[in-house]
Symmetry: C2
Subunit: 438 residues, 2 copies
């Protein structure tokens, strides 16, 4: 089965808004085994839209429209597409009642224009919209279909998931089951290692790159949910066999979520001490609902005196080793743990750029610390040519990765360990500094 996606809206052609609908629908259609041949964006113009539909209708089995279902004169997707599929529209009192209700609940009045939104296909089907005023529409002629959904992403996604996707699955007489693996590590390296597994027909597997990690989405088409689940599980095992514990979780939104829930499961708490990431780690942790169960204290210590006052970092250590150094990362982590009483603390000190940096510590040099039990761990990273924003994002990700690994009792290779009590001992700090510089 082949499809094209059409986004209707002059505001898209002017670049006023970013088209995220096309990406969402492309992923969803790919999972349904439907090949997307084109994505197009057209303005709210009757003639151009009619021309386009006439061309596209013969090229593929399914046209998926978003946008142009609103109440204004500009919104003409429904009548234009209806005509192209030999259909017409009729006023639907039931939809009109829903629209009036919706406006009443919002404390607003309908206008005569809103009646337009209650027009539905005579031969095709209306598609209920549980999250807005405009119903969608389904047209069909000679086995070729068109589906029309609203342009507002939240309304479109809900209508897709609740109404359109199930219709397409029913036509294919199958169900879909998905499983998403979250994988730590360099993106292109992960893709290379699993490349053969990405070529399968059913289940399919696709890889999406994120900051410091990748997402692998496995999707099975099967006669029942149970079969689909079993197929996904069996295929996931092939990824685990290759990637091992680089796979850190399944079906979660990201690393901060897993760190929060691992802490909860272990009844432990976390604190953060951030220099170059400047609050980014705390922000990511607190973006997870329920973070307050395990996270209470975050220190953004951008200045040396803040590191000293809030975390007890020794100013002499900063002077001796540099503020961007392993000894400072170690003292920051230890200090955050002590000042907060948390079970685990993570710290970051680095040079995000664009200014600063020298031969020993170029822009992109970052030290990550972790303190738990009677130990402190420090790692060093070089993020070369990434730019300020990406250095910060990668550093935050690396700190969360260290937190997760310490919670799992698996300190990463390349990490230096120090007794917490040795964080003030010159010889121990010297050894740490040397180990990390080399």
């Amino acid at each position: 089965m082949t499809a094209e996606i059409i986004s209707v809206g002059t505001e898209l052609l002017l670049g006023n808004i970013l088209n995220t609908n096309a990406q969402f629908l492309s992923r969803e259609l790919a999972e349904l085994g439907i090949t997307v041949q084109r994505q197009s964006t057209i303005g709210d113009n009757h003639d151009r839209l009619a021309d386009w539909v006439s061309e596209a209708k013969d090229r593929c089995d399914l046209l998926v429209f978003t946008g142009g279902l609103g109440p204004t004169d500009d919104d003409l997707t429904k009548e234009t597409v209806a005509a192209c599929y030999g259909d017409s529209l009729v006023f639907d009192p039931e939809e009109w009642e829903k629209i009036v209700d919706y406006f009443t609940r919002m404390g607003r009045q309908t206008t005569p224009n809103n009646r337009k939104q209650a027009m539905v296909p005579v031969h095709g089907e209306k598609i209920p919209n549980a999250h807005g005023t405009a119903p969608g529409a389904w047209f069909e002629q000679d086995g070729r279909c068109a589906v029309l959904m609203p342009g507002v992403p939240a309304e479109m996604k809900a209508m897709w998931t609740e109404q359109v996707r199930p219709r397409l699955l029913a036509r294919q007489n199958c169900t879909l089951h998905s499983l998403t693996l979250r994988v730590l590590g360099g993106e292109s390296e992960i893709e290379y290692r699993v490349r053969e597994l990405l070529k399968n027909a059913n289940p399919t597997a696709a890889i999406y790159c994120k900051t410091g990690e990748s997402e692998i989405r496995i999707t099975a088409r099967a006669a029942s949910d149970q079969d689909g689940e079993a197929m996904c599980r069996a295929y996931a095992k092939k990824f685990y066999d290759i990637l091992g514990d680089a796979v850190y979780d399944e079906d979660v939104p990201g690393l901060a979520y897993t760190v929060i829930h691992t802490l909860e499961a272990k009844g432990m708490t976390l604190a953060t001490a951030e220099s170059c990431t400047g609050g980014l780690i705390a922000q990511q942790l607190t973006a997870v609902p329920g973070a307050s169960n395990v996270f209470g204290f975050g220190f953004v210590t951008y200045w040396e005196q803040a590191k000293s006052k809030l975390l007890g970092v020794d100013l002499a250590v900063i002077r001796h080793y540099n503020v961007v150094s392993g000894p400072v990362a170690a003292q920051m982590a230890r200090g955050a743990r002590e000042a907060s009483g948390a079970d685990l603390a993570i710290s970051v000190t680095g040079l995000a750029g664009p200014g600063g940096g020298d031969e020993v510590r170029p822009v992109g040099t970052v030290y990550i610390g972790g303190a738990a039990g009677d130990s402190v761990w420090v790692e060093k990273f070089h993020y070369i040519r990434l730019g300020r924003e990406n250095v910060r994002a990668r550093a935050a990700h690396a700190a969360l990765e260290l937190a997760l690994r310490l919670l799992q009792g698996k300190a990463p290779a390349g990490c230096c360990r120090l007794a917490a009590a040795d964080c003030d001992h010159p010889q121990a700090l010297d050894a740490l500094d040397r180990a990390l510089i080399l």
Copy 2:
């Protein structure tokens, strides 16, 4: 002049990546006075691409391509478009030398495939790529043009700005000058107030909505830069006349940037105390290069004991008024100022949801505090039905807005003022609480 934008890449049709190039180019072309009639995305497939180019070539004056200039067999935009414009490609030793140099600098070796990237138009022009290996191309036939750029956004944007835009301007025998106003306040309200000014032909003005603010971009086409600048300035005055000091800055990336640079100009420093925003404000401030000149201390006090220990908030005040209350926001701001020694401190305490909330304090209730000189100010906001992420984003924006207004000596209307010394006085806190609850 009319144009279409064509993004080439199967990874776009699979939804693996979000197409941000089309939005960027749409905005840029609109500024050049070129009407974008369609945006399309096609896969790396010779026949479909050739069909598409043949159709589109006759519909408009300019086709703008991104993607498909890489070294692999899949990358066939250049040869396909060349054929459609009656042109062909030839190996260019100069480009090849650049590619070899580039690989050498990166410590990598070229492969035979890379020679493909050194193929350039025979009749058309090659377009230098200063930021990657693939040169772009320009084809022309009977006054109709096609321009080919790389798909990697950073390379594409640089080539557009440095090479393609100047060519298009030279053809139009004019220059462009732009001015961007940043405006605080509700987006639809701002748009309504300036709607008549958005309909002008030259200068044009477009409004883009952001969290808690809008961006108004004024663009003039003129014979000289000087004329363009004068036209923009005169047109900007019309916006200032309507919007007054809701316009907070010009040609800056956002509010955090303006706050940092206003602090710098005044020789003042800032500290933050965040509960529900959880580090988001500190993160936004430290995303601005040079933030370390004015920002040194950020407190993420997610728990009551963190508010008490780090900021000296009275636990009895939390118990009496609720942790989400005006008195707590006031004590947080005062405490952050004292603990950091900063000239100005801002604080946030609120309910981002999804859990919690009651009739008096529904989810979305946020108190923002500011402390400077011998005063503390507190504001209350209700962000209804926004969801956790948006409540946090709006609250962070409101806190930065308060910081800016206090720096300008213009406390917002609806803000309650309290003497800093009264932050511990039961009567003063009672009065503040009542004033904000009502």
